[in-house]
Each structure stands twice: as structure tokens, then as C-alpha cells.
Amino acid sequence: MTAGPFPGGDRPAGCAGRAIIEVTGLWHTYMAGTPFEQTALRGVSMDVRAGEVVGILGRTGSGKSTLIQYLNGLMRPVRGRVVVDGHDLANPRTDLRTVRQRVGLVFQDPETQMFEPLVGDDVAYGPRQLRLPAEEIRARVRWAMDAVGLPFERFKDRYTFSLSGGEMRKAALAGVLAIRPRVLVLDEPTSGLDPGARAELRRRIQDLRDREGLTLVLVSHDMEEVARLSDRLYVLQDGAVAAAGPTREVFGDAARLAAVGLLPPEPVQIVQRLRALGMAVRPDALTVEEAADAVAALLDG
């Protein structure tokens, strides 16, 4: 944990600590006072504790993207409260730049925002903006690139446009990591990647929590990805929290998920179907491996 984002890192996985982000009764309205007025958040309360991975689910238009923009201080709440690492975003004296250093946001398709010709320069952009000493910048870029699986020496002088889709996505992620946030918010981190690149990036994301002690917030349509990575879930519907709890619990409640228009990951659907058919298969399997083992155990007796 020597090269962690901050000395000592957060608490190890599995015993999440105090709330690092607290959202209470948050409302948001787009184009208020116009005919296109649309309420995107209706009293959302949620928290993110140090060292955990929190998944946010919901159909398109459920408020996910609006919510995560608050988490890293892109917006100040008008109604409701958002406290990030002790900073109340509604307080005009809170410097939102500080908040953005604590919480790094990786947008969907982040590689479309890369502009430096060389990979190393692109990753260094954030720390350079912070006006850090050159040595520190270099150390951070090295750490961030190594952490995402783009070895510094091999990739720093590569042209960004020569990278594969998966490598480009990792470089964009490294650019946010180099700011050394405590919390990383990932919006659809693997969408559009091929299965091989997706699996590799998922492993790297898991390592960021397990080895580097980062706290993660994950927004994804890919239920299997959410199931694999998240400790806890919030399900949004029409701007409100429709369900929340540990991953297995939320996915285990098929009726509730169906009510918000979501299907659990396929392995969960398999187990639920078998149980509906009267098969005594273990009910809480989440992944392909767990579902297969549950089926095999049933048939093996």
C-alpha cells in the first residue's frame, strides 16, 4: 500500500468505514420555470463509505447522471444536502475544486476528451493543473499508469491515437487517478469495449479498491458488471431511490427490480427460474461461476 492514493489507504475491502459522501434529501430540476421543466432528482438520500464499492442502477432518465454530477461538486445543491469528505457543497465557502480533487469523475467514453498527443502528457494534465512539483507529477503519472495496467516506461511516449480502445479507456482513467482522488466515480466504465478488454478493465477496477484502497461509485447498465464489482446498490427510479441494500439482497428481490423495469444479471435469473420450477438450488448466486456451482451442486446432490 506504499504507492496508495494517500498514506495508509482507506480501510480494507469488506469493512467499509465512515461515510465519505453523504447525500440527504437532494432535489434537482432542469430548466426550472420553462415549459421543458423536468425534475431529475426527488429527495435522494444515499451515502458512500470509505473503502466500499457502491453501484448505482436505474433506467435511462432515472437520475443517475445528475446524481453523480453532485458527487464530485459539478453542481451545488439548491434543495437538499451533499457533504463530501466533510465539505458541505451548499456552503458558498466550500471550494468546489477541493471537492473535485477528492472525488474523481470518469465520464462515459472518457477517451473522447483526450487531447494530448502523448499518453504520458495526457495523464499528467490533471496534476500539472494542480501546479505540483515536476517530481511529484512524474511519480503520480507513473503510479496511475501502472495502476490501470499501462506500464509507465512502455506507454508514456506512445501516441494516444495509436492505442487500442481498451488502452485508451485505461489512459483516460489514469488521467483522473493521477489527481489522487479518494473516491472514483465511474460512469459506464466498460461500455463499448470488447469482451476481452472489458474483463481486463474490470480486474483493474477491482484492484483499485483491493490494492490501492480507493472508494468506488459505479454506474452501469451491465448488471453482471455491477454484480461482480459492487458491495452495495442504490436503484433509482424517476429520480428517487426505489431500492437500496447489499448487492445480493437487491438482486435477490426479483419482484422489486421488475417493478422498476430492471432485470437482474442472467445468472441470477437462471437461479430464480429454477427455484420457480421447484428446484432446491442455492438462492443467492450472483455470478456465472456461482450459478453454475449451484446448479452442479443440485444435480450432483
Binding site: F36, R59, T60, G61, P117, L118, D157, R158, Y159, F161, S162, S164, G165, G166, S191, G192, L193, D194, P195, G196, A197, R198, A199, H221, M223, E224, G261, L262, L263, P265, E266, P267, Q269, I270, R273, L274, L277, M279, V288, E289, A291, A292, D293, V295, A296, L298, L299, D300, G301
Partner: protein
């Protein structure tokens, strides 16, 4: 049965050969120090032969850079092969005189629907293509309504496209292509940005089109989507790795894994069950089939 809709005969393609471009505009001089590894040439085609028949539903899968999108762009003459030939409804794509007719025969929808929206009202956006083809006004109205009803967006015909959700935009983009009445719809990762509900809506549209005899070619990373096709063409490094029905393609798990492709979750579960229960079938493509296999097997034991 009429002849094939699209035939590719040993097509080769390389972006470098096609455009003859030098370094990318705006790129700096090469950096000092040891040269970086040469950029891999993605999207190259190395001798692809295949055919698409009228009314067929074909999924094209492959890792990033395997040439899927490059191949798709050959189907309606957005790209032309460096060697070999592509014939669409009897028309060679290298003959520029056919380009217009070819694009009326094979319509494409891309990953980002915004990239192909032109009008400020849904209805006008859908009318744009056929209007340009010179379709008379009355016929135009019929086509626009038919296309918007098919994708379930007739109710939104007077709305501005930019206020629609991603899934709704994609449905409008599909309607805009369908209004040209193509014999084949090519979806180039058209569902990769959509949520599960949006994906289901597109799957429903595909089913409807098959009922009407329109061929569909879907380029996708989603194996459970590909599992629904009549045939899967798996590409790797610009060549056809497999061109078989889904069941036969997914039976080659090792081959797929070698090129970085995976299996639909149900097939992966079945394969893992088989590692412990040797007689368990692995050619399952849906939850129904898997459940039936488990029930049958449990029944034997009882």
C-alpha cells in the same frame, strides 16, 4: 427465392492503402528516444468472403479492431474494397453509378444516433431520407407513419429529437432508415449505448422486420444479442473465424476465448456445469433451454 442480397468475395481493405494518408493532421514530430511500438493497424480486412440472403438476421461479432465496422461499411458502399468485390442486389459497389441505389437497398444505423439526425422535429428527421430519394408527398406521409409506428415513436413525432432519451433517439434513427424501405438494415453497435429496456425495444424491432422479410445485420459486442440471430459471423484480425448458426459458434468456447470473445452467460453457466456433470448439454442459448436441461437431468436422478 431471389439471389443473395449481399455477397463479399475475398475482400481486402486497409485504411492506409485506401486513403494514402500520411501522419494524422496536427500530430507532432516523432518524439526523441526509442521509437514507440508501431500503431497496430485496426480495421483491416484480409480476404473476407460471405453472403447475406434476403430476410436473414446475421450477427457480426469480434474483438475491437477485428474489422467489424469496416466490413459493415462495405455493405452500403461507404467503403470499397482494396481488392475483391462486394455485390449488393447484383450491383458491384466499385461502380459509383450504383452508389445511390445501393444506399437505398442497405441502410445503416450507428452507435451514436445524434450523428445521423438532421432535423429539429422527429417527423421531419424521418422524412429526410425518402424526401431526398424523390418520394412523392402522399407516399412520404405513409412511409413516415409506417416507420415511426414500427419503432413505437409515432406518438413522439412532433417532439424535438434532442429531448428524447438515448433509446428513443436510436429508435428514431432506425425509423429514418426504414422510411427508405431498405432490403437490409445494418446496425453498427446500435445498442451498445442503450439500457436493457432500450435494447429490448431494438430486439422487438428486429423481430418485426424479420416478419416483414427485411434482412438485418447487427454488429455487436453482446453475445446474448448475437445468440438470437440466424447466423453469427465471428471476425478476428480481419478474417472470418467462424460463420455458423449461434449454437455451433458458441460450441467453440476455446476458440472464442482465444480471440477475446466470450459466451452468453447461460452458455457459460452450462459449460461450467458440464465440467462437473459430464453429460450436461452445453448448446443452450436461453434461460428456458438451460432450465429445461436442469429439470430433465434432476428428473433422471430422482
Amino acid at each position: 427465392m431471389p439471389g443473395p442480397l449481399i455477397v463479399c468475395e475475398d475482400i481486402h481493405f486497409s485504411y492506409a492503402a485506401s486513403a494514402g494518408t500520411g501522419p494524422v493532421a496536427g500530430a507532432p514530430a516523432a518524439p526523441a528516444g526509442p521509437p514507440a511500438a508501431p500503431p497496430r493497424e485496426a480495421g483491416v480486412l484480409r480476404g473476407i468472403s460471405l453472403r447475406i440472403d434476403p430476410g436473414e438476421y446475421v450477427a457480426v461479432v469480434g474483438p475491437n479492431g477485428s474489422g467489424k465496422s469496416t466490413l459493415a461499411r462495405h455493405f452500403n458502399a461507404l467503403l470499397r474494397p482494396t481488392s475483391g468485390r462486394v455485390v449488393v442486389a447484383g450491383m458491384d459497389t466499385r461502380d459509383l453509378a450504383h452508389t445511390r441505389a445501393i444506399r437505398g437497398t442497405v441502410g445503416m444505423v450507428f452507435q451514436h444516433p445524434e450523428s445521423q439526425m438532421v432535423a429539429t422535429i422527429v417527423e421531419e428527421d424521418v422524412a429526410f431520407g425518402p424526401e431526398n430519394l424523390g418520394v412523392p408527398h402522399d407516399e412520404l406521409r405513409v412511409r413516415v407513419r409506417e416507420a415511426l409506428e414500427l419503432v413505437g415513436m409515432w406518438g413522439a413525432r412532433e417532439r424535438p429529437p434532442h429531448l428524447l432519451s438515448a433509446g428513443q433517439k436510436q429508435r428514431v434513427a432506425i425509423a429514418a432508415v426504414l422510411a427508405m424501405r431498405p432490403a437490409c438494415l445494418v446496425l453498427d453497435e446500435a445498442t451498445s449505448m442503450l439500457d436493457p429496456e432500450g435494447r429490448e425495444a431494438v430486439a422487438g424491432i428486429i423481430a418485426e422486420l424479420r416478419g416483414r422479410g427485411t434482412a438485418v445485420v447487427a454488429i455487436t459486442h453482446l453475445m446474448n444479442e448475437a445468440a438470437r440471430a440466424d447466423r453469427i459471423v465471428a471476425l478476428a484480425e480481419g478474417a472470418v473465424l467462424l460463420d455458423r448458426p449461434p449454437r455451433e459458434v458458441f460450441a467453440r468456447a476455446d476458440l472464442l476465448r482465444d480471440v477475446g470473445l466470450d459466451l452468453p452467460a447461460v452458455t457459460a453457466v452450462a459449460l461450467r456445469v458440464r465440467s462437473r456433470i459430464p453429460a450436461f448439454p452445453v448448446d443452450v442459448l436461453s434461460i428456458d433451454e438451460l432450465a429445461a436441461a436442469v429439470v430433465a437431468r434432476a428428473g433422471q436422478r430422482a
